[in-house]
């Protein structure tokens, strides 16, 4: 694959999306290779373009990668969305509408997950909404680690693409042919397999890990990733046990008596030593000791529940229905180009 000189220079600064958005930039950016498509159904894949002045074109389809490329160069869309592969060419759908049956239906679509950093607002104090910093972005990276491992080891998928969604999170695209053929019900089942955080805005305790032991998937996630991340990074970077914030943790303990027992222990610290150890670490250790002392049978999994509450991936449960369009920002194309650059060299 060729990468010309001009593009090489742009690739050096992949994160730069110019302020004054000029369609000429687009022409240049798009003058390269993008992910090749499987020829057998490329013509039935829906794309939608958002053009300058917010003109929105749906049901675009192309018979080849070259056609897609030239259409992009000609129209210079500011935003591209990718939809499913339909049973017939989307641009010819009206011809089939008369027959009355549902001939125009989506038939294949990658398995997609969406993780949004703003869904973690109740457990991060550094930022909120669309803001992200180096303290809270690791929540994304561990989410990726856990899901990626499970998609490969548990579900046997191998063609997995993770991309920054351009605003405040990541998208996961599973492109195995087995994944593309999944029904909505099967997609929902996978999403539910991953789901631990339950309950809408109005439920207080949202992670409930019943049972004497954890399912192997959760156990592996906890032991390999979440425990260390919580103990070594998150509780420090977010100061989870500071006086203003520790109450939130106590709220996750279902037994009020135990919660006050822990609270009292924490208060006791103040008077004692000038310990070198960070207060967050100390308090966490004390909490663990109390909860795991074996005295409180009902709280067997409470420590894990707390860790999961703060760190476990939160999937956007607006499960991807097959017909939805997913935005592909300019970033993804740049990322693709960037990858190619690294693979093939200058």
């Amino acid at each position: 694959m060729e990468i010309d000189d001009q593009k090489q220079q742009q690739l050096e600064a992949p994160a730069a999306v110019p302020e004054g958005f000029n369609t000429d930039y687009l022409r240049v950016y798009y003058d390269g290779k993008h992910p090749g498509c499987d020829q057998s159904y490329v013509g039935r894949r829906e794309f939608s373009f958002t053009l300058e002045n917010d003109i929105y074109l749906r049901f675009q389809s192309f018979d080849s990668a070259a056609e897609l490329e030239s259409s992009i160069k000609e129209k210079c869309p500011f935003k591209i969305d990718i939809g499913p592969v339909y049973s017939v060419d989307p641009s010819k759908r009206h011809a089939y509408a008369q027959s009355g049956n549902n001939v125009f239906v989506p038939v294949e679509r990658e398995l997609i997950f969406d993780i949004d950093i703003s869904d973690y607002d109740d457990v991060r104090y550094c930022c909120s909404g669309a803001d992200v910093c180096s303290d809270c972005w690791p929540l994304m990276t561990i989410a990726i680690k856990i899901l990626d491992t499970s998609l490969r080891d548990d579900f046997g998928f191998s063609h997995i693409l993770w991309v920054y969604s351009g605003r405040r999170g990541v998208h996961c695209w599973v492109c195995d042919s087995r994944a593309r053929k999944l029904s909505n019900e099967q997609r929902a089942a996978i999403a539910d397999y991953f789901r631990v955080y339950k309950g809408g805005e109005n439920a207080l305790k949202k992670v409930s890990l019943a049972g004497p032991v954890l399912h192997p998937f959760l156990a592996r996630s906890y032991m390999d990733v979440l425990k260390t991340f919580f103990e070594d990074r998150l509780l420090l970077s977010q100061q989870l046990f500071s006086s203003e914030r520790c109450q939130k943790i106590l709220d996750l303990i279902p037994d009020e008596n135990v919660a006050s027992e822990v609270h009292d222990k924490w208060q006791g610290n103040r008077r004692s030593s000038v310990s070198k150890e960070d207060v967050n670490v100390t308090r966490w250790e004390q909490l663990k000791t109390t909860l795991q002392s074996g005295k409180h049978k009902g709280l067997r999994r409470c420590v894990e529940e707390i860790v999961f509450s703060y760190t476990y991936p939160r999937l956007d449960m607006e499960v991807v229905f097959v017909f939805q369009l997913i935005p592909v920002t300019v970033m993804i194309l740049i990322l693709q180009l960037f990858r190619l650059y690294h693979r093939y060299g200058p």
């Binding site: 958002t50 917010d54 929105y56 549902n102 239906v105 869904d119 080891d153 548990d154 579900f155 046997g156 998928f157 087995r178 999944l182 019900e185 099967q186 929902a188 089942a189 996978i190 539910d192 397999y193 789901r195 955080y197 339950k198 309950g199 809408g200 805005e201 109005n202 439920a203 207080l204 305790k205 019943a210 049972g211 004497p212 032991v213 954890l214 399912h215 192997p216 998937f217 959760l218 156990a219 939160r314 956007d316 449960m317 607006e318 017909f323």
Partner: protein, 451 residues
């Protein structure tokens, strides 16, 4: 199936026909049996089976656990379907199923309901069968899964034990496992009741029910679509003097009002919404309206549940678009609204895509929703924590003794009836906000009692 007025053949024929199961007790309804059925039986058998299905529907709405459902199904079957002569039972079983297929094949909503109830019925009847009978049924469903060979079993034994324990079962009890592609057992995957490795689920014999039921569901679903085509194409006309009136009467008598054409309700318009919310909306809808006004946004689950409710209450498409646009545009601008959300609203009204005219959700569906982060849909009686529910009810004007009665019902998970108790009790205790039920409220009432 021949419907005649004269004598009927004894059900020995039923057992011999394709409708029967291998073990004779649990039919799989693969093919319409070659039977002669009396016209009276046509209707009576169907009604009895419908009682069973309705009982199941009620049990599901109340959130009964699997063990309770199993008991319920057994009782319902005994009460309405069992006959002294097992051959007679089988006959009635098969006939009633096929008659109800005719009744419930005619619209998407009817098909969904019938499929759901028949599948549930089958699931629990299967659980009640003996192991040999279950094995024979598996074969009949052509589940080509072979039991895991010993060596493979040994390799994953620990993980299988771990899964068993994680779902509250004893470890090392099951020894027969099947290795099945995960796509085939979505419910087991979703609830993490199986060990997964490289795309395969390790399913215990006891879980095989799930496999069988998925197949059953698939078969019935296809059969319903086929029946619908046949009905529309030939049967309805052919039978217009005989069976058709019975079929139509059956579905009208038991399915309740047609939600897209409410008889008593007054169509609501845009300006009515806030006022009606205070006086007549169910708690779940009021809550979503409050949140929508507060955040100028609702996530997908909320948009569907609330949007369809408004539609069912008679809000016209233009008003609906104006309503949602007025709120959303305060957060994201009207252009983005038009681009990203208007389509779905028109879709719900049957103006896009498949052009299905969606109907509002039943309580059962709302209760069984699974709201996640940032969601406000679902049933407050089920999905709110205790404090939040109390607060919400207080805001509605329910307090004191009435409130305690409600919280007690919540503990016993009588979600669907709760809203009515709330209304009833508040009338009893004379809270002005809720007296004088409007037409909308009565209509909402009918929505809540559906099925």
């Amino acid at each position: 199936m021949e419907i005649v007025r004269s004598h009927r053949q004894v059900a020995a024929a039923a057992a011999a026909a394709g409708g029967g199961g291998g073990a004779g007790a649990l039919p799989t309804y693969k093919a319409a049996p070659q039977l002669e059925v009396r016209l009276e039986e046509f209707e009576l058998f169907a009604i009895d089976r419908l009682r069973v299905l309705k009982g199941i529907s009620d049990g599901l709405s109340r959130g009964k656990r699997p063990e309770e459902m199993e008991k319920l199904v057994s009782e319902l079957w005994k009460t309405h379907m069992r006959h002294q002569d097992p051959a007679e039972t089988l006959n009635k079983d098969i006939v009633s199923h096929f008659v109800l297929r005719l009744v419930y094949c005619r619209t998407e909503e009817l098909r969904k309901w019938f499929l759901s109830m028949e599948t549930t019925l089958f699931r629990y009847r299967f659980r009640l069968e003996s192991p040999e009978s279950q094995r024979m049924l598996m074969t009949e469903f052509q589940l080509p899964y072979k039991a895991l060979p010993h060596s493979e079993f040994e390799a994953v034994k620990d993980k299988l034990s771990q899964v068993a324990r994680s779902i509250g079962q004893s470890a090392n009890v099951e020894h027969v496992f099947f290795k099945v592609p995960f796509e085939e057992v979505p419910d087991l995957v979703a609830s993490r009741r199986v060990f997964l490795s490289k795309g395969y689920a390790y399913v215990a014999m006891s879980q095989v029910v799930s496999l069988v039921v998925t197949q059953f569901r698939c078969n019935i679903s296809k059969a319903l679509a086929l029946t619908n085509r046949k009905w529309t194409a030939t049967i309805k006309e052919q039978e217009k003097d005989r069976l058709t009136p019975i079929v139509e009467a059956l579905s009208n008598a038991y399915f309740g009002p047609d939600y897209s054409q409410p008889k008593d309700a007054v169509d609501i318009s845009l300006k009515d919404i806030d006022q009606l919310a205070k006086s007549s909306f169910p708690l779940c809808m009021r809550h979503m309206l409050d949140k929508l006004r507060e955040n100028h946004h609702l996530k997908h689950g909320g948009r569907m549940q609330f949007g369809l409710f408004l539609k069912g209450a008679g809000l016209k498409l233009e008003d609906a678009l104006a309503f949602w646009r007025a709120e959303f545009s305060q957060k994201i601008g009207s252009e983005r609204f038009d681009k990203e959300y208007a389509y779905t609203i028109r879709h719900n009204y049957g103006k896009e895509g498949k052009r299905t005219d969606y109907t509002p959700y039943s309580c059962q569906k709302i209760i069984s929703a699974t709201p996640g982060v940032g969601d406000h849909h679902g049933c407050p009686f089920r999905h709110f924590g205790e404090e939040n529910l109390r607060a919400a009810l207080n805001k509605m004007g329910v307090g004191g003794h009435a409130l305690e009665e409600i919280m007690d019902k919540v503990k016993n998970r009588h979600y669907q009836v709760l809203y009515f108790i709330a209304i009833g009790l508040t009338e009893q205790y004379d809270i002005p906000e809720l007296t004088g039920l409007s037409g909308i409220m009565k209509y909402t009432a009918s929505l809540h009692i559906n099925l």
